[in-house]
């Protein structure tokens, strides 16, 4: 009989230990997966670990990693606000799409400007787009008490169809493009590439700044403190001066705005136009949910988790090109990481007890 008992004293050491255990489990699973999926497993493992130094230009690989890190971390930290308070926005992918749509709307409303000065307004329009889309599940939760897990997820698909509809219908660009897309933004409006041939562009700095601002708010301000205590119980929430409804509104507004900003930067920097959903969305919004939990809803943790997962993703795409290993390796590793990190997180608070006989429960502190 195995029981989980709450630890008497939880220290940083126990957290670090469980993170270490999780990392080891993730690595073991990764090695196992690569042994199954590759006919040159040793080389696959080695190249996946060291891929930035394997390719022709290191900055290209690091650029890809940092680019993904920026998108994932920005969206994930927004989601972490709600997750701390038990508000479940899992629709960041849709808010990302609406951020892109919002940014393009802003571009059109400004009369298709050509100068870079319009960019802040376009990005702001993207944030508003993502934010408004996120407020729909918030409003449904507050007014009708619907489950925001379901509504926010469903709105992802509606958002995707809206994106495709705009590309096929009202905002249709060149019909000879071979895919449904809008006319592109002028190059003068797009954030400058910092190193030629890499994915490093000025837009990533905007995401970084947004990340730092939100992280500072969460870590160092009274508002951040309130949101953190709201996590524990509704009563604490009340004491902190929040009504549960306000927490819902605020969580969705912040996470929607962050995902919307990411979508706006993506539209202006990566594609320069809207494209039909299946060719446009890269699942950053869903991956960010995983990142938020891998980072234990902590800003620094989220940054590290985003970097780790991006490194794995780009590494997988590298060995796919180099060694023909299917890049679904990355998904498997990501899932392994999620399971082991969530699993071991329990060990922060609880410890395993092996007992010979079924003992009588000692009250609510014992899980099973």
């Amino acid at each position: 009989m195995i029981t989980l008992e709450r630890r008497a004293n939880v220290t940083h050491w126990t957290s670090l230990r469980s993170i270490g255990i999780a990392l080891i489990i993730t690595m073991l699973v990764s090695v196992l997966v690569l042994f199954i999926m590759s006919d040159q497993p040793a080389q696959a493992i080695w190249q996946m670990l060291t891929f930035p130094w394997q390719g022709r230009r290191m900055e290209v690989q690091l650029g890809l990693v940092l680019q993904q890190t920026a998108y994932l971390a920005t969206i994930a930290i927004g989601l972490s606000v709600g997750f701390r308070a038990n508000v479940w926005n899992i629709g960041a992918e849709g808010q990302f799409a609406l951020g892109s749509i919002g940014a393009y709307t802003g571009y059109l409303l400004l009369g298709s400007p050509e100068t870079l000065w319009a960019l802040p307004a376009i990005l702001a329009a993207g944030m508003i787009g993502g934010c408004l889309w996120a407020l729909i599940p918030a409003a449904l939760r507050v007014t009708c008490n619907t489950n925001e897990l379901l509504t926010s997820l469903m709105l992802v698909y509606i958002g995707g169809h809206l994106l495709t509809y705009l590309c096929i219908g009202p905002w249709k660009g060149d019909p000879k493009a071979g895919q449904a897309e809008t006319y592109p933004l002028p190059d003068s409006l797009r954030p400058a590439t910092l190193i030629s041939g890499t994915e490093l562009h000025a837009g990533l700095f905007i995401l970084l700044v947004a990340f730092i601002i939100l992280a500072a708010i969460l870590l160092f301000t009274l508002l951040g403190y309130r949101l953190r205590v709201a996590q524990h119980t509704p009563r604490a929430e009340r004491f902190a001066g929040f009504s549960p409804n306000n927490t819902v509104w605020m969580s969705f507004a912040i996470s929607g705005a962050m995902a919307g900003l990411a979508g706006a930067v993506y539209m202006t920097a990566e594609t320069g136009k809207l494209i039909q959903a299946e060719n446009y969305l890269e699942n950053f919004g869903f991956a960010a949910i995983v990142i938020a939990f891998l980072g234990r809803l902590n800003p620094i943790g989220i940054l590290l988790a985003a970097f780790m997962i991006s490194y794995v993703n780009v590494g997988a795409s590298y060995i796919q090109a180099a060694l023909r290993v299917d890049d679904s390796v990355a998904d498997l590793i990501e899932v392994a990481a999620l399971f082991s990190f969530l699993g071991t997180a329990t060990l922060d608070q609880y410890q395993l007890k092996f007992t010979r006989t079924l003992r009588k429960s000692r009250g609510p502190e014992v899980l099973s």
């Binding site: 040159q40 040793a42 080389q43 493992i45 080695w46 190249q47 394997q54 390719g55 022709r56 230009r57 290209v60 690989q61 890809l64 096929i168 249709k172 019909p175 000879k176 493009a177 071979g178 895919q179 449904a180 030629s196 041939g197 994915e199 993506y266 990566e270 594609t271 494209i275 039909q276 299946e278 060719n279 446009y280 890269e282 795409s317 590298y318 796919q320 090109a321 180099a322 023909r324 890049d327």
Partner: protein, 365 residues
């Protein structure tokens, strides 16, 4: 761990040495190899390279690459991992291919069905699939009973428009009463959407389904409806339509791919724009990029007629767009003014963005 590192270092070294004499050939696929259509045929071409050159080459492919920002990343990865020649096998990879090519002037790029060659290391190639559409036009004209033909089209790019026009011209010649209804599905591969379009045509009375998309879904729908016939696209789809399959236009990239890789190996590779039909030169010489496969479910005499038409197209005796060609509004095509014999490749066919007479509706603009 030390042992692992040593093995890794050793394999790396060996890999590095092996690379010195092997030519690395990379492929970017828009769909899964298992689509049994477009991507499947490109993969057959890749295997033909492996068979032809054996140990001289190493091939890699990346499947299911979306045509947006993702394509740039994946093409970059192929260039970064030391590939010498990279085939990007969908129209939508045009801009990504040219963008990446500028960063890697020593890598050769081959883009399928595009027309942009912005740097010297980009070549383009395409097939005169429309030659197969001429044969289909004849078969549809003779096989339809309801005189309603449903045409599932992907995107209004010249390649697709040429196919529709070539089909209509031959159809009208043999059966002026037959009408083609074109539905744009804005996808290359979406079995559900393709099946839905086919069913909608059949519900509206069509008994011939033509497709310019990649999955066998429409063929399967035709098979479920007795009396409805369909044409296979890109690969041989006869096994999905035992009683409905008339003929498949099969893409054959093998000989082009082998030519280009041979040129990359011996150093004679240079920028080209290649366009082969049933034969390489349009005069009946060489294996081209278009094949007709598995004629069936029709009378013997019709098969003989179709094969004869196919042969005349292959030998160049017949052109797919012989004058006079009238546009949708009744205006004579410019190329047919005076003593014009046929529509010209440049600029008419490569940039075709108009319907010929007899097709209703307008091209999505």
């Amino acid at each position: 761990m030390k042992k692992l590192l040593l093995t890794a270092a050793a394999t790396l070294l060996i890999g590095g040495l092996a690379h010195a004499d092997k030519t690395k050939v990379g492929f970017i696929y828009v769909g899964p190899i298992g689509d049994l259509g477009w991507t499947y045929r490109h993969d057959i071409g890749r295997l033909a390279i492996e068979k032809e050159f054996g140990d001289q080459v190493e091939t890699t492919y990346i499947e299911n690459v979306p045509e947006g920002a993702e394509a740039v990343k994946q093409i970059t990865q192929l260039a970064e991992t030391g590939h010498d020649i990279i085939f990007t096998t969908s129209f939508g990879f045009m801009d990504p291919t040219n963008q990446v090519a500028k960063q890697y002037p020593d890598v050769k790029f081959e883009h399928a069905t595009g027309f942009k060659r912005e740097s010297d290391n980009v070549s383009t190639f395409s097939a005169r699939f429309y030659e197969g559409r001429v044969v289909q036009g004849l078969l549809a004209a003779k096989m339809t009973k309801t005189n309603k033909i449903g045409y599932i089209a992907s995107f209004p790019i010249p390649e697709v428009v040429r196919g529709i026009n070539a089909f209509q011209l031959e159809l009208a010649k043999h059966n002026p009463d037959a009408k083609v209804d074109v539905k744009w599905v804005f996808t290359w591969f979406d079995p559900a959407k393709e099946a839905e379009a086919a069913q909608a045509f059949i519900d509206a009375g069509a008994d011939i389904i033509v497709q310019h998309t990649d999955s066998p879904a429409a063929m399967s729908i035709a098979e479920k409806n007795p009396g409805v016939y369909a044409f296979g696209q890109a690969s041989n789809m006869s096994r999905f339509g035992a009683t409905s399959h008339l003929v498949s236009i099969v893409d054959n990239w093998d000989s082009y791919y082998i030519d280009r890789v041979a040129a990359a190996i011996d150093g004679s590779w240079s920028q080209t724009d290649t366009w082969w039909g049933l034969s390489k030169d349009g005069q009946g010489n060489g294996v081209g990029m278009v094949e007709m496969a598995s004629y069936g479910n029709m009378p013997e005499e019709l098969i003989a007629e179709a094969v004869a038409l196919q042969e005349s197209l292959r030998s160049g005796e017949r052109h797919s767009f012989p004058c006079p060609v009238y546009k949708q509004d009744g205006e004579l095509a410019e190329d047919c003014a005076g003593d014009g014999k046929q529509l010209a490749d440049f600029p008419t066919l490569v940039s075709m963005d108009w319907y010929v007479q007899g097709i209703e509706g307008s091209l999505p603009k």
